[in-house]
């Protein structure tokens, strides 16, 4: 997993379903591993494979027309369980960006902590992206973190997205939250001294 994200131009894989919960992204029975690797194999397991482990032809990840490092999904992506395994599965499969019109809070944190960029766009722009991919499955999408925009290369349609300045710095430089928190060690100890209760 690369710990840096700056800029990307890539085709995208469309999964135009709303409320995709983390149980769909990675079902609970695959959470028994004690390392972070290998979850990509089971990304969207039950939508990708039938009960006999045969690929379901109608699911986008099994469709050879689609490829690329960008996953585009319906609103409220990543709701449900806090399992970071969902972000690990997405990263392990090879996605660097997830585009949706709305993300669940915990998933968003988990994604950023794994250097996956969640790009939240308007519903209108999301529709435009889906339409562009429908018109050309290889349609390229450009995502630029520095200037915080996402662009459909063929049509030039683009939109700006929000990202917190701190997280932007982390992504661009490969810093993680623990590095920052560990640097606050003295402040944490000082804070503990001010607490009236020992809980």
């Amino acid at each position: 997993m690369s710990k840096i994200f700056q800029h990307l131009v890539s085709a995208a894989v469309p999964v135009p379903i709303e409320n995709i919960d983390t149980d769909q992204i990675i079902p609970a029975r695959f959470l028994k591993a004690t390392t972070r690797e290998g979850f990509g194999e089971n990304l969207f397991r039950d939508w990708r494979f039938d009960a006999n482990n045969q690929p379901k032809a109608d699911f986008a990840l099994n469709n050879p027309l689609y490829s690329g490092k960008i996953l585009v999904a319906g609103k409220n992506f990543g709701c449900g369980s806090s399992r970071e395994h969902a972000a690990w599965a997405i990263a392990d499969y090879g996605f660097k960006v997830v585009v949706s019109s709305f993300f669940a809070d915990i998933f968003k944190n988990n994604a950023l902590n794994n250097f996956i960029l969640p790009v939240q766009v308007s519903e209108t722009f999301l529709d435009q992206v889906f339409k562009a991919i429908e018109a050309d499955p290889k349609a390229e999408i450009e995502v630029d973190l520095e200037n915080q925009f996402i662009r459909i290369v063929a049509t030039g349609e683009q939109e700006n997205f929000d990202i917190n300045a701190y997280k932007k710095t982390c992504l661009r430089n490969g810093y993680d939250d623990i590095d920052y928190l560990l640097s606050l060690r003295q402040d944490i100890e000082k804070y503990e001294g001010t607490r009236a209760f020992n809980f």
Partner: protein
Amino acid sequence: MGKTLFDKIWDSHIVMSKPEHPDAVYINTHFIHEVTSPQAFDGLRKRGIPVFRPQKTRATADHNVPTLDQHLPIKEARSRHQVEMLTKNTAEFGVELYGLGHPYQGIVHVIGPELGITLPGMTIVCGDSHTSTHGAFGAVAFGIGTSEVEQVLATQCILQYKPKRMKIEVNGTLKKGVLSKDIILYIISKISASGATGYFVEYAGDAIRNLSMEARMTICNMSIEMGARGGLIAPDETTFSYIKGRQFAPQGADWDKALAYWKTLFSDNDARFDKVLTFDAADIEPQITYGTNPGMGMGVTQHIPALDQVEEKERPSFKKSLEYMDLEPGSALLGKKIDYVFIGSCTNSRIEDLRLVADYVKGKRKADDVVVWIVPGSKQVEAQAIEEGIDKVFAEAGFQLREPGCSACLAMNEDKVPAGMYCISTSNRNFEGRQGPNARTFLASPLTAAAAALTGRVTDVRDNF
């Protein structure tokens, strides 16, 4: 201007707040379990650092454990390995573990409150989204990912953006047969599975005030199902008397000091919320979900929306969901045949839930072709149920009382609902495959589940009251 309860707790836990940065928030209590912690301990090993405040983290094994024959080694190798890793990690890093066989073992969100570890005014996190349960005590409690578990182990702090504040008021008197589970399912059905994303919710109003502690936990538990970061309820006499005397609760002079502090924990009259919603308790009937997210719920006597009642944009997802459930748009669920009844999970597996169900089914017998699993939330709940003779009521009814764990709530262990079968479940998620590949879930209250166990069908519990 006054402060909300949430602000009072959050603000008093900030170690560092820098512009453009998330707040570094101090955590009072950290719970861990076997599934979301191994990679975090590995991270510490890689960095060569210890757990910063090991006495502030408590561990239990719940997600992967079998709920029969817990005295035997876990059969499934990968589950066993994960539970063993927890034992090894907690021993190596000096964290207290209530593992299998321990009298305190149970679902993480059941044992924290019942042991008096969960207290008002605390910040509490766990690598589990239903950590929101602990908010019932007037704590700021929320679920986190494994990287964040590692942050807390390493520094006792977490980096977090402050969510917005929402107040949900429920006023008036609940109708007979309507439980706190129905209140929360009703609210989620009204505001959708993403209606509170970005917010921390405070529940208020006399219908909430009048609930027991356990009923309040059920409400806060499901805050995450409408997307909220967490949910909380201001502590009051109900809270204080629940906590008093529990194993780890403060005692003597500490109790008095704590109590004086807890009494300051409420939203000031002039506190401002970013959003306020109000509901009338009298409008709520026993609820049931029909779809594959907890927002797809309705009163048990109502009909599933017809296609033209669903916004056009949402139709594809709606149809996909009903296809999975093998249900027709516009149809009723009342009378629908069911195969399994699961009474358990961190939402509804406490002693009050078991008592309610036992009272309702006493002297009756389950329908022949229904499998009924009752899974207590903890060893202590199980022991209490046996002491009160509830186990005998269940045995006579043909219900199987199993041992504590997450069980069929997430089907990670051996307890799974078979493909294609319908289960009425008191848990919190009806996602596709949640209770087993291709299993179909109807979420409901323990009473509605008990009524279905007796008739073998989706039943209005008010008919037999």
